[in-house]
C-alpha cells in the first residue's frame, strides 16, 4: 500500500538555524498538509496546500514558516530561524481528490537546542 514518507526521522538543530523538513506524499494525491505535535500535547494543524498554493493556514504558521512543492513529488516545510518552542513532531499528510481520509507520514522529530 502506498505510504507518505518523511525525512529525516529526527533532526537536532541550534536555535536560529534554518531547517527543511521533507515529505513525499502519495503520488496521485492532490491535497497536502503539515501538522505539528509538541511533546505530550495534541496534534495541531499548520497549513494545507493545493494547486501549488496555500489553501489554509493556522495562527501558528507565521512568517518563519514556508511550504513548497518544488518538483511535483516532494512537499517541504521550512522554518527560517528556529526557536526552542519549535521543538515538536511534525507530520505531513496527503489526500486524494474526492477522498475523505488524510494519509499521515511517520513524522519528523525536531529538537531545537
Amino acid at each position: 500500500e502506498p505510504e507518505v514518507t518523511q525525512t529525516p526521522s529526527h533532526q537536532v538543530t541550534q536555535m536560529g538555524q534554518e531547517v527543511i523538513l521533507r515529505c513525499v506524499p502519495i503520488s496521485n494525491h492532490l491535497y497536502f498538509y503539515w501538522y505539528r505535535q509538541i511533546l505530550g500535547q495534541k496534534v495541531e494543524f499548520l497549513v494545507s496546500f493545493y494547486n501549488n498554493e496555500i489553501s489554509e493556514k493556522s495562527e501558528i504558521f507565521d512568517d518563519q514558516f514556508s511550504v513548497e512543492r518544488p518538483d511535483g513529488s516532494n512537499f517541504t516545510l521550512k522554518i527560517r530561524s528556529t526557536k526552542l518552542e519549535d521543538s515538536a513532531m511534525y507530520f505531513c499528510a496527503s489526500l486524494p481528490r474526492g477522498g475523505e481520509t488524510q494519509y499521515f507520514g511517520p513524522g519528523t522529530r525536531l529538537l531545537v537546542l
Binding site: 495534541k42 496534534v43 495541531e44 494543524f45 499528510a93 481520509t101
Partner: protein, 112 residues
C-alpha cells in the same frame, strides 16, 4: 469553526474489561470523524473513520465507534481491552479536503 472535545484526559481499565472513550465534536455540517491511536514517540495509526451511512463503524484491533448526531458524539469502544492497547487516543474531525482538527487526546492505561 470545527472543534473536538475529549472529556477524559486519562482512563485506567483492567485488562479484559470493556472500554469507552468519549469524543464530542462541533461542526455545522456532517463531519468526517476519525479515531487515531499513538504509542509513545510514534506516529498516528488510524483505527476507524465515519463519513456517512451506518452509524456504527468497525475498525482495526477490535475497536468500534458509534456516531450519534443528536449528541454530536463519536465514542470509541472495545469490549475487552488488552495490555497492548495502552496508548494515547485521539479523536479528529475534518471536512471535505479541509484540515483535520484533533482533540486533546485520552491516555489509556491498562492494569494487569
Amino acid at each position: 469553526a470545527q472543534s473536538v472535545t475529549q472529556p477524559d484526559i486519562h482512563i485506567t481499565v483492567s485488562e479484559g474489561a470493556s472500554l469507552e472513550l468519549r469524543c464530542n465534536y462541533s461542526y455545522g455540517a456532517t463531519p468526517y470523524l476519525f479515531w487515531y491511536v499513538q504509542s509513545p514517540g510514534q506516529g498516528l495509526q488510524l483505527l476507524l473513520k465515519y463519513f456517512s451511512g451506518d452509524t456504527l463503524v468497525q475498525g482495526i484491533k477490535g475497536f468500534e465507534a458509534e456516531f450519534k448526531r443528536s449528541q454530536s458524539s463519536f465514542n470509541l469502544r472495545k469490549p475487552s481491552v488488552h495490555w497492548s492497547d495502552a496508548a494515547e487516543y485521539f479523536c479528529a474531525v475534518s471536512t471535505n479536503a479541509g484540515k483535520s482538527t484533533f482533540g486533546d487526546g485520552t491516555t489509556l492505561t491498562v492494569k494487569p
